[in-house]
Every structure is written in C-alpha cells, then in structure tokens.
C-alpha cells in the first residue's frame, strides 16, 4: 500500500539561504506526525510546501498518491489547513467565517449548514456562533480555526504551530480535540511545533535543524536511543571540569552551552564519585530521563532553546 504522504529529496531556497535540504520521509494514514525544530529550522517552509502555498523544487511531494506539482486543486479539496497566524475574519461572526470557508469548498445550502452545526458542536462552540471572532479568547479562536479546517471533511489536516500563544490549559484542550478527531475520523494529522510537550504527543516525529533532518521516529524510540539517564552539571568553567572528568574518572562528556552533559546508562552511579572528586567545581547537578531536548542536543550539540527567539 502506498503512503498517504510521500516526500522525496525535497529542497527549498530563499535566494541563497537553504531553508530545506534533501528532505525525505513519508507519513501513514491515521498518524499524528510532528515536525519539531527551533525557529528557522525549516518547519514553516515544510508547512508552506505541504499546504500547497509554495511550489516544491527540486524534489517530489505526493499526497493521496497524487503529485503536488500537478494536482494542486484535487489535493486541496481533501486537506484541512490551520495556519500559525490567525486566518479568521475578526469582524465577522463565528458562523459567518465558516459559511465563507464552506463556499470556497463548493459547499452551500442545507449541506453547508449541517456541516457547520456538526463542526461547531465538535469543537464545543455551538453556543458562541453568533459572536464576532474578535470577542473570543485566543484559545476559542483557535478552535474556530479547527472547525473551519474540518468543514470539507479533510483526510489530512496540516497545522503550523497551532498552539503558539496559547496558555498550557488551552494548548492541552486543543490537542485533545486533535486526538479525538484522529480517533473518530481516522484523520491523518501533520503538525509543526517547537513545544517539547506537544512533540511528545505525536506518534512520530521528524526533528529538523537548519533545514536538515536530524532524527525521525517515535518520541520514545528517539529518547531510548540515548539510553539511560542524562546527568547535567553546572560549573564556572565547564571545559576545565570536563577535561578533569575525562582524566580522573574516564567519563565522556559533552559541553552544551554552559552545562556539561553526561549521557549513559545508570548515570546515577556517577553522582557520588563526581561530587567527591570535585566538590568545588560543581555548582549544581541534575539527573533525569532523556527528553526530546536531549535528543536534539545529542544530534546537534546545541540546546534546543538557545535558538528560540
């Protein structure tokens, strides 16, 4: 069986800046597939190509078995898209926004009204339909966007950083809506994010950095690759301490920003020896299970958050 989405050797350039380089991956039906990466990593470019805004060249993108370069309109009909920046007319009421959206997808009359009712119900906004969008909170506006993207019964939903600017509670709620839809409709979901908690909720994850694929897999599998625990030490002079650790205790370390990072199984055994050997060099010490941030560090040697705006 063919994949729902297939991307082969996709590259994209803005002038001379390479935004995407030779990206290849595929997505299966019913997956929640995430793109994780710092800003400027290539997520938004990928989103723009997949949502049919940019033409992919060079490279090939196949969605529903059709070539994106040739069958744009046919593909658009079967996709739902949620943009990072609001795509609602704030002067219009909630329902009016959905009516316009429906018309653009060739829906009208009774059929359209039924679908609007259904989708407002789905995102829990039926009682707010007569309000102007500008009167709604950020979280509710996001739900209107979701309802709007659902109107054409999409098989594939693409979302660009959908929960940016939402508080954690609203973000959680938005995600539970997404997961419900995947479960009840068998919808495939592609989502870009720079929130690690969101990335953890995806079935599979593609980590992008500087336009290059650095990792691809299930979040647990990516974390398991690191193995064991991650020990982080804070020190005034991390390079000096790292050298000492290697020399005296034969511990392999990685310096990430102002931290020393040690990834190894049973890293907790090292806590006492390190503190005994260098009581004055270690300012603080944390021990934890690997996170997606550690996966990113492991692959790129940089912290994920350093690249944030």
């Amino acid at each position: 069986m063919s994949h729902l989405l297939e991307v082969q050797n996709l590259s994209y350039q803005y002038g001379t800046r390479k935004a995407l380089q030779d990206l290849t991956f595929s997505v299966e039906k019913g997956e929640i597939f995430g793109f994780l990466g710092p800003n400027g990593g290539g997520k938004t470019t990928t989103f723009k190509i997949l949502s049919t805004l940019f033409s992919a060249q060079p490279g090939q993108v196949k969605i529903f078995g059709m070539d994106l370069a040739q069958d744009k309109i046919a593909i658009r009909r079967r996709m739902g898209i949620v943009f990072q920046l609001p795509a609602l007319d704030k002067k219009l009421k909630v329902r009016e926004n959905l009516v316009h959206q429906g018309h653009l997808y060739g829906l009208s009359g009774k059929e359209l009204q039924t679908r609007i009712d259904r989708d407002l119900e789905r995102v829990g906004l039926k009682d707010r339909e007569k309000e102007k969008v500008e009167k709604l909170s950020g979280g509710l506006q996001r739900r209107v966007e979701l309802a709007k993207a659902l109107l054409n019964n999409p098989e594939l939903m693409i979302l660009d950083e959908p929960s940016t600017g939402l508080d954690p509670a609203a973000r959680k709620e938005f995600w539970s809506h997404l997961e419900n839809l995947r479960q009840s409709q068998g919808m495939t979901v592609l989502v870009t994010t720079h929130y690690l908690e969101e990335a953890d909720r995806c079935d599979r994850l593609l980590i992008l950095d500087k336009g290059v694929k650095v990792a691809l897999g299930k979040p647990e599998a990516l974390k398991a690759e690191i193995g064991g625990e991650v020990l982080r030490l804070k020190s005034k002079e991390p390079t000096v301490l790292a050298a000492k650790l290697m020399e005296k205790l034969k511990i392999k370390t990685q310096i990430v920003g102002d931290l020393i990072q040690i990834e190894q199984p049973k890293a907790y055994h090292l806590v006492a020896p390190i503190l005994e050997a260098f009581p004055d060099d270690v300012l603080s010490l944390t021990l934890g299970l690997p996170t997606l941030e550690d996966v990113f560090i492991h692959q790129t040697g940089r912290r994920f958050s350093e690249d944030k705006e």
Binding site: T52, R76, A87, L88, D89, K91, Q101, L104
Partner: protein
C-alpha cells in the same frame, strides 16, 4: 459553479466588513467633501464648485479603493486570505471577488456625494444617470484592480500607501477633475491615456447631460476605454496571484 460561489462569497465578505466598521463610512466621503468645500470655495473662479463636483465624486471613490485594497496586505499575511489561498478555487475567482467587492463599495461611496448634486445645478436624466453609475463603477473597478496588483506585489503596508498616493493623486489631478485642458503637450498626452480622464468624463456627462462639453470625451468612448483598462488590470492582478509561491 465554484467560480461564482467564490466570487459571491468574497464580494459579500467585503460588504459585511465595510458595514461593520462604521469609521470607514466617513473616511473617503468626508475627505472628498472637505476638498470640495475648501477648494471649491477658495478658488474663486465662477462655477468652479460645479466644475469640481465630478472630480469630488471620483476622489471619494478613489480613497475608498485605497482602503479596500490596503487591507489585502495584512489579510494575506495574517488573516482570512491565507485560507482562501489554499482553498480549491481558481485564482481568477479570488481576484474577481475581491475587486468586485472593493469596486461596489467605492461606487457606493462615490454616489453618496450625489446628495449635494442639487447645489451645483446638476440635471437628472435616467439614461445619463445610468451612464454615470456605469462610469463610476468601471473606474472603481480599474482603481481597485490596480490597487490589488500593487498590494500583492509590494506586500508592505507603508510602501503600498506611498506608491498608491504617488500614482493615484497625479492621475486624479490630471483627469479633468481640476482643470479641463492643458497647453502642455506631454500633459495632454498623459490625460489621453489616463483612465481617470474617462471616469471623470463619464460622471460629468451623467451629471450635466445638457451642457456643452467639447473638450470632454463622450460617454460611449469613456465606457469602452474604462472597460479596456478594467480587463487589463484584472488580468494583470490574476497573473501576479497565480504566480505567488512559484519558483523560477
């Protein structure tokens, strides 16, 4: 069918948005009336207020077109137009819906000035009046389509306003709105190829059907020229939109 549904829905959205933002009602009409009042009174030539009246209508229409097309820039980057661009509809339909919406509003705002037509001795004749509406609508369509094309190409709001003012104000001034003819040959040539000349002429002939207007283009000629410009700028806008996101 989706073509017409798209055009209709985008056109209707423009009207509703206008109706929801009452301050826009005053902007275009108010500015034009101020010009008319101050210039019409200040320039002490006999009957200048009457002469200047068609130009005032066109000016009100012009400001309305600028408002309508400036919104495209923001709407496209962070607004409803984002969804429109990924919908399964033809670009030509999107452009038509947006321009028709803007042109309808601009025509309407030009017509609001007609409340004062009685004070300048305009005569009402049905045929001439319909000609006036057609001219006003066509020149609105031309200016909105031009604005659409520029807004899409420039994609920065301050840049758009600067360029629009730089292009539209001279076009309006050299349209027969303020002075009838010029002895300068290059100005004469510019007036001949200026769509505003034909817009103002159509409105003037509609308001004063019985006046002797030797130096003003006829109504039929004006309508045909305006139609030509409308088609030209509509196609130009459709082409820029079609090319969006394409890589060479």
């Amino acid at each position: 069918m989706t073509f017409f549904l798209t055009v209709y829905t985008l056109w209707q959205r423009e009207l509703v948005r206008f109706y929801r933002v009452p301050s826009r009602w005053f902007g275009a009409v108010g500015t034009a009336l101020l010009f008319w009042g101050v210039l019409g009174t200040g320039i002490g030539i006999e009957n200048f207020r009457a002469y200047f009246f068609p130009g005032t209508i066109v000016m009100s229409m012009m400001f309305s077109c600028i408002f309508a097309t400036a919104s495209i820039i923001e709407d496209r980057q962070a607004g409803f137009l984002q969804s429109v661009m990924v919908a399964p509809v033809s670009r030509a339909a999107i452009v038509m819906g947006k321009i028709l919406g803007g042109a309808t509003l601009a025509t309407f705002q030009g017509l609001l000035i007609l409340v004062f037509a009685g004070t300048v001795g305009a005569t009402f004749e049905l045929g001439a009046f319909l000609g006036l509406i057609a001219s006003l609508f066509l020149i609105s369509f031309v200016v909105t389509a031009m604005g659409f094309w520029l807004a899409w190409t420039i994609s920065s709001a301050p840049g758009f306003h600067a360029i629009m003012n730089m292009i539209l104000l001279p076009m309006w001034m050299a349209s027969g709105a303020v002075f009838a003819v010029s002895s300068s040959p290059w100005l004469k040539a510019f007036m001949t190829v200026n769509p505003f000349t034909y817009g103002v002429a159509g409105v003037r002939r509609g308001l004063f059907p019985n006046a002797v207007l030797d130096q003003v283009p006829g109504l039929q000629l004006s309508l045909w020229v305006l139609l030509g410009f409308a088609v030209f700028f509509y196609i130009l806008s459709s082409i820029v939109v079609e090319k969006t996101g394409e890589k060479k």
